[in-house]
């Protein structure tokens, strides 16, 4: 069993097989309702934003850094975009401001971690709390409804095409260019990477650019999807970590990283949530069941080192 589980091809294919298995199981248990077009549509809508963010965030995870502030960034960028829309009544400008704000705020985490000499995860947690407080101050418990402005855009296929384009660009950049190789090398061993001439700070900064673009797009997609802006930050930070790990990639990066794991993981998470709800699992237990399933799945799909997995997240 151990030999089977440690087979590299099985490990690569496991996340996808798992996703397919979940679909099959839930379909069987719900009498086919799981595969209705409305449910598949719902899964697509619910997973798209996490998938897009995960594609970009993979560039950060690959280098061994973690950023948990994405939920807060999406919230605050949305508020900025919403205020712009209220002032100018321009949807295009709202999207532009939201994209720019989201991208800049994510990139700021990299700048801050460089200035403070901290791991990105610390800088991100710091900024996450500040963004949450600023958002609460700007909007409080109010909300800005933009549903009617974005409804038609939400019904079109524009988001899918943008998502596909981003995915292809990131896939090519990550797997077929020198950038991707250097990112994976840096994540594997920073010192060795520096020794062979890779400028770690520069490569991490470039990785952050890709992530910033993806998160900026995710901010815009969130506006379209939700049609409403509030100061409640989502749990996107932890969702991305879960999606990435469920997709078969280590959030500590390294040479085995890839940028499509998050896509697979994002839809797996949504399928699990939807499936459990459809099966009638009690709403008070659904989180616990999900937690157990996550741990089991991650256990089966992860490598298990001889020592304990750890990473200094301090500096």
């Amino acid at each position: 069993m151990k030999k089977v589980l440690s087979n590299r091809w099985l490990q690569m294919a496991f996340p996808l097989l798992l996703l397919i298995l979940c679909v099959i199981i839930f379909s069987a248990l719900t009498g086919g309702r799981f595969l209705s077009q409305s449910n598949i549509s719902a899964i697509y809508e619910q997973g798209l934003i996490v998938a897009i963010s995960a594609v970009g965030i993979a560039f950060i995870y690959t280098t061994g850094n973690i950023d948990m502030s994405v939920g807060s960034i999406i919230m605050l960028a949305g508020i900025m975009g919403g205020r712009t829309w209220e002032t100018t009544d321009s949807t295009a400008l709202m999207f532009l401001v939201t994209f720019a704000a989201g991208a800049v705020m994510l990139y700021l985490n990299n700048v801050l971690s460089a200035v403070l000499g901290l791991r990105t995860v610390m800088a991100a947690i710091l900024m996450m709390n500040i963004y949450n407080a600023v958002g609460a101050e700007l909007l409080g418990a109010e909300s800005i409804s933009i549903y009617r402005a974005v409804r038609d855009i939400g019904k079109s296929n524009a988001r899918l095409y943008i998502a596909l384009l981003l995915f292809i660009v990131c896939l090519v950049a990550f797997h077929l260019t020198r950038l991707g190789r250097e990112l994976r090398f840096t994540g594997g061993n920073e010192r060795c990477a520096a020794t062979v001439g890779i400028n770690n700070k520069k490569i991490i900064a470039v990785g952050y650019l890709f992530a910033a673009a993806a998160v900026g797009i995710a901010c815009v997609f969130t506006l379209i999807r939700n049609g409403n802006i509030s100061s409640v930050a989502s749990s996107m930070g932890s969702d991305l970590m879960l999606a990435t790990v469920l997709g078969g990639m280590s959030i500590f990066g390294g040479h085995k990283s890839n940028c499509y794991s998050g896509v697979i993981g994002a839809f797996t998470v949504v399928i699990l949530s939807n499936g459990l709800l459809m099966l009638g699992v009690s709403n008070t237990l659904i989180q616990g069941v999900r937690g157990v399933l996550f741990l089991v799945i991650v256990y089966l799909s992860s490598e298990h080192p001889d020592t304990l997995p750890s990473r200094n997240q301090f500096s």
Partner: protein
Amino acid sequence: MKNLKLMKKAAAILVSASMLAAMTGCASGDTDGGAESTAAEQLTYDEWMEEEPAVIGVCFSQINDEYNGYKSFLENYIGPQYNLDFIFSEQVDGIAAEIDFLESCSAQGAVGFIDFACNDMFQIADRCDELGIYLSVQMPLEEDEKELLEYDYFAGAAYTDNAEIGEQYAQGLEKVMEGSELEGLLLTTGIAANGNLQHIETGLNVLAGVAEMADLTYTEDTYDLVTSSSAIQVENSQSLPIYIYPGSVANTDGYLAGLSAQLMTGNYNVVISSTTSYPQMMTVIDEAEQALGKDIKLISVASIGADLQTAMTNQDSFGNLTLEAAVIKPGTWIIGGLVVPLLNALTGYQDAYKTDGVSAEYVAGCFLVTTTEDMEVINTKDVPEDPSSWVMQTSNMEEMLGMYHQDITREEICEYFGQDLNGLFG
């Protein structure tokens, strides 16, 4: 080796791209609607019970003891009686989760949706209209939201009258201050600064009540005072210490420390809480009472349950109840009121939930409880283990359903729903 690597990369790209491309068919906004939801003819009770159970989604804004009670009421009492299957959400803390749940309900063939979260009513109502799902909300509609009542699939709104909640607070203040002098008032305004109507109404009515009691006038507009986002002293003609304290224990760091600091000035002998976080405030108030050697009265809104029982059976160091007065909402009376318009819509009784194409807001009153005896009566209600304790009984539901009264109108239902509930509570 090189070819193998290339093949691996190509395979990975193909798999992921094909997965995304497969979603193309799902990208359009058109989805299967809910099952055929409007009966072509009006159904009697027996005819309705022979149909397939109607699926109703219930979206909770929080999951706690109170909502677990509502879940038990719907699942175990209302559901079997009226051929309804309920799907309950997890805790919904934003519009994204609310939409996700609505879509999941639609995928499961839901024909009705009860919304406690109400993060964006227009959007939810629009989506329900598109999906063919009847919507019932537990939230008062603001002026610009009244047009929702004209939506085809908007069945109605049921809630406790905020103005009456505010009036009960003022009455409670008058009652607890009988025989005592108001030395100063600390008013916690919750999220009034962010537009919460209930908290605003509470604040406005309390300030009005104080003005009448102490024969004073305020130098500033009371609406501005109540909706302040920072703590402020309210200036008035009698120089009576009145302190507005926004925020709540849940969302404000150091909230209790700030509250304690103000109480320890000794300026206030009444605390009015606009939120249900009085259990967290009681320790701080009790300690201030002991330190100052002075009785501080607490008035708050409350739900039926263990916290209320504790608060109104325990005495402070002055032999008074820890919670001197509680404004209680009528529990499952509201929940039943959310189900009634859905049932009328699903069984084809148009006139029962719409008049000239306009749905209704079903508004109920609330109670003021100032003694342990009153509280003990209240606490016998809405006990999940005892179906006869539900405030909304099926006998009450029948009075509002077209299945039992074919000619009943929307107005008659509103009148019945808004009746004085003191009789029901004994």
